[in-house]
Amino acid sequence: MKKLLPATLAVLMFGAVPVAHADTLKMACNVSGAMKPYCEYVKERFEKDAQHKLEFIEMPAASDEKLALYQQIFAAKDGNAVDVLSIDVIWTGLLDKHLLDLTDKVKDLEPAFFPNNWQNSIVNGRIKAVPAQLDAGMMYYRKDLLAKHKELPPKTWEDLARIATKVQKAERDAGNKNFWGFVFQGKAYEGLSCDVLEWVASYNGGTFVDPAGSITINNPKAAKALNTAASWVGTIAPKGVMGYQEEESRAVFQNGDALFMRNWPYAYVLTQADNSPVKGKVGVIPIPKGGEDGLHAATLGGWQWGVSTYSKRPDAAVKLVRILSEADTQKRAFMLLGIPPARVDTYQDAEVQTKAPYLAEFKDVFANAVPRPSTPTRAQFPKVSKAMFNAGYDVLSGRATGEQAVADLEDKLKRIKGREWK
């Protein structure tokens, strides 16, 4: 309290006086990497419109490390470290108290965005962030190889396994010894939780925890989904997938050593780069259904822009968030980095459609993407996610059957939940 007094006095004395000099706002944008042209575009726009200076701070690439860093900044209530920050869709509940309430400032933007994505950034009825990009799992395949072996893109997981077995055998007999049918993210980390959710949801096995907070994972359909996934490892997928994240699986696929790959939309633009061995040979389809009566379930991912509660320049920060939410800015992020926009209208844009013809079809997949149970499980979500991916990993590595895994997972989730999610 003592520290607050001089600060309050200073605000009272100088706050009313119009600011003569421009403020400096800080935004999380990795200006030294591939994001440079995007960061610079934002800076130019903001400095012209808002009469403030914009500086960038670099953040770690891995999202859990980014979160740890944010939380240290928040723990110190540091108002100088960062004003505008990018937030993973699963963090909004977790970071709630450190994010500025944007309800009155951005409410009018709602109709422009995908509803499930917009809902995700609302905590207790207050808008805490604005969607920056939308992600959903999708299945990549080799158009040339399917044509060569006279197959159509698969609709179900069973279909996928059959085609992968056939093509893998034929390609290996033809001398490509390292060829595999399917690669995905099997390392024990957040990415595996996304994959596991897709498998379980595609077999109508639910979302582990339903929106009301009840634990639903212990059901035969979920067990079947996990058993199906386990049957891929060592047959159509290398055992190494249990150590793969997104980039490791992309390395194998982009090198021409895999027929199918589950990944996020960012990978498309990279597989089409000039130095990519599979340029022009890649197609994209929705995640397969679990059996004929299953669903095309894609895990909802993506990032949002939020403002730190400790920001000393909240008005300028909101101005920046509004610039970041414009169709033109989001389109630019897509054209430069392959990040799918969160605004619905950008999907009709001619330039966007030429760059990624598949995107228009994926509008429905994006609109129906399945969120991870982060909203109902609130601050406990990191534990829930960890239990999810460890259950998935145990099944993939053969240390548990699907039935054991879902029963154990139910026990674990009950323990984490206690009386109520908090």
């Binding site: 723990a75 190494g240 793969y244």
Partner: protein, 329 residues
């Protein structure tokens, strides 16, 4: 101020009666005092960088603080360590994952330190011989030790890669395996991958410690033993080993303490599942991933106690063996 400046003057010239007891202080006492003054900056520094965080950690281990709001906490006593409620037990010591982490860490420590001792000894004996290019070999052997652990982990990660890694490539070429192994993906193999990377990195350290000890042994001992007809193994067993034992124990303490707090190799190299978690990894997970500063601090305190306890055991065994030897003599 004046009191201090007085004592700086030659006492014989001023000789105030109050200064009399001070002059009586013995040389020994004055030297002890000077010693304390000289050591004080180092002690203060040590307290600031080691003592204070330790005390804070101990303090937080009795609270329910969260990582992003460390100033809001309640005291919960020993609940973070062990707590019983409604017929169920909670806390780090009741968590099966903690005990699995302890098992993993001890297994890793035992395997990697014994392999390091073995290979370190071989290298040290080799380097102790005189041969051409000795200087280059000694310098070259230090390279793995100089590489940061995180780089080691990434490098071995690529070498162990199931599709494109050099390890599988070599094994396939020599027909030791038929299909590539998923070194860093399967829990059983990935712990060995971690041990191999760690041994590669720290054998040079062990070798240099042992080499330094080997070079202290006077060569006439060996000559005398040779004259008495002792063979190579007997010379090693009866002369080399006893004489380098103190240095070996120090090296072992260093390595065991280091291995017990293994974190980065496992975190970067393996699939990071519960099957390969170490105690430091467990503490990090509670603290950073789950934001539970209280539980994380409790785990950190347990890690500290375990490392300190094992180090104390080593020292005790060392002293005990010395005393035993003195008694025998």
């Amino acid at each position: 101020m004046s009191h201090n400046s007085e004592s700086l003057l030659p006492s014989a010239a001023v000789a105030p009666p109050t200064a009399a007891p001070r002059r009586k202080r013995s040389l020994q006492q004055r030297r002890a005092r000077a010693a304390w003054v000289l050591v004080a900056p180092a002690l203060i520094l040590l307290f600031a960088v080691a003592g204070w965080p330790l005390i804070r950690t101990l303090f937080y281990s009795f609270t329910d603080a969260a990582m992003d709001t460390p100033e809001e906490y309640n005291f919960v006593g020993l609940a973070n360590y062990l707590d019983f409620a409604e017929g169920d037990s909670f806390g780090v010591l009741a968590d099966p994952l903690w005990w699995q982490a302890v098992g993993n860490t001890l297994w890793f420590t035992a395997c990697s330190v014994s392999l390091e001792l073995f290979f370190g000894m071989l290298l040290a004996l080799l380097m102790n011989e005189k041969f051409r290019g000795q200087g280059i070999v000694r310098a070259a052997i230090l390279v793995p030790w100089a590489i940061p652990t995180i780089v080691t982990a990434k490098m071995w990660g690529w070498m162990f890669h199931d599709q494109y890694g050099v390890v599988n490539d070599l094994l396939l070429r020599f027909a030791l395996i038929e299909t590539p192994l998923a070194w860093i993906a399967e829990p059983t193999l990935s712990m060995w991958a971690v041990v191999i990377a760690d041994v590669w990195k720290t054998v040079p350290f062990m070798a240099l410690m042992l080499l330094a000890a080997l070079q202290m042994i006077p060569s006439d001992l060996y000559e005398a033993a040779r004259v008495d007809g002792a063979n190579a193994w007997q010379r090693f067993r009866r002369i080399t080993l006893p004489l380098i034992m103190p240095a070996m124990i120090v090296a072992l303490i260093f390595r065991v303490m280091d291995a017990l707090r293994v974190f980065d190799l496992i975190y970067v190299l393996t699939s990071n599942s519960e099957a390969t978690i170490s105690i430091s990894g467990y503490a990090r997970e509670q603290m950073v991933s789950f934001q539970e500063m209280g539980v994380g601090s409790a785990a950190s305190v347990l890690v500290f106690m375990m490392v300190a306890g094992i180090a104390a055991c080593f020292l005790w065994i060392n002293r005990f063996s010395h005393e035993g030897k003195e008694a025998r003599e």
